[in-house]
Symmetry: C2
Subunit: 236 residues, 2 copies
């Protein structure tokens, strides 16, 4: 392993450890010594990578943001309709909030703190939801009598709600909760012809680990959408 | 003013001041000296009413919980159908989150902290949503093909989402956002005969300040549902 590879691994370990510490103690109470020891390195090594606690938090949020974008792009590539891509991406987001501490801590930090330099994960998600609904409208798959902005806001609010409710009761992050929401909403959103082709529980398959968006990234369980692990296990 | 009245007023002033301090600094960073000075009393006076910071936070949550229950009961008394009462109560809740620091801080503390003794405001709200949907189903006003539990979960998640998104951008707590959600959802929830009788923007009128639930409480602006102040102003 080169020095560069070791440094990258240490940085990733620090980000993962920080996510766990922020989640357990909150940002204000999180101690840098706990973060470095959780990553198995000294506080000196931490300061080689990050100037202070705010910089660590920003790295956690940036990592969560990058993960969300990669996942969203990979899902769009493998999905026929924009509406199904919206459903699938929302399921993959909730799955990440359940299984990936970095995504969970990233969203929480992005929500609770007043860090101007950091990405606003909810705003990025809102932006993506809007894009997919615009694409669905352009393809003529959206019902005429709905307001796209209302549909985007409801989707973003529901997922933000699942996230915050899921902090205390993980059942809110179960796939069936989100499926129930789409079962309610899709008959209002989609034209009748489209509705029969969209699966409210998502069409989770293992995204191919290729393409520039995934280059240099390790696809772990947390990168897969809901159910993908089970599908992968059955396929082997 | 009797000693008892003065004590009650001081306690209320401390709760309001604490809500503002918790909101601005977060629970972990909130200082008792700031809470007492915000209420215009000494820290000694604060300790006469509350043992410690956790007790102050619990009082804020209890006050928010009581307010939610009183409001919900008042709205049900003055509303014809359970479905309209659900819409109206959700609008009144969002209005409180926008205009009443005690409700806002109460929900936030109830969400972020791990205080076992405190009321869980989101769980109470979920319980109330379930009750109203059960009542609507018993009255035959709910569509046959929807799952009540999904409808309750979506409603609770959307309002929790508005709350958390509204912390950084108050527009999420605007009445039109919630109206947009009900415009999407109501055609799925209600029977066609009921749908024409339910107003997704809520039927805000000033609730009468009577009945045991409101006894001894001052009905201020924060106790009124969305639009009630404007209605009251027009009526005079």
């Amino acid at each position: 392993m080169t020095k560069q590879e070791r440094a990258t691994r240490t940085r990733q370990a620090l980000i993962r450890s920080a996510a766990a510490v922020f989640e357990q103690h909150g940002y204000a109470q999180a101690r840098l010594a706990l973060i470095s020891s959780g990553a198995g390195v000294s506080t000196g090594a931490l300061h080689f990578h990050f100037e202070n606690k705010a910089a660590v938090a920003e790295a956690v949020m940036a990592e969560a943001s990058q993960g969300l974008r990669d996942m969203s792009a990979a899902i769009r590539r493998r999905t026929d309709t924009a509406l199904q891509a919206l459903v699938d991406t929302s399921h993959a987001l909730v799955e990440r909030l359940r299984g990936d501490p970095v995504s969970r801590a990233g969203f929480r930090l992005s929500c609770d703190g007043g860090r101007a330099a950091a990405p606003d994960l909810r705003m990025e998600w809102h932006h993506r939801v809007r894009e997919l609904l615009e694409e669905a409208a352009a393809a003529g798959t959206l019902a005429d009598d709905i307001t796209r902005e209302d549909a985007a806001a409801a989707t973003v609010a529901v997922t933000a709600g699942f996230e915050v409710l899921g902090r205390h009761d993980a059942e809110w992050l179960s796939p069936y909760r989100l499926t129930g929401f789409w079962q309610l909403l899709l008959p209002r959103l989609a034209t009748p012809e489209t509705l029969v082709r969209v699966d409210p529980s998502g069409t989770a398959t293992v995204p191919p680990a290729r393409g520039p968006a995934l280059a240099g990234r390790v696809v772990g369980e947390a990168d897969l959408p809901a159910g993908a692990t089970a599908v992968a296990a059955e396929a082997t």
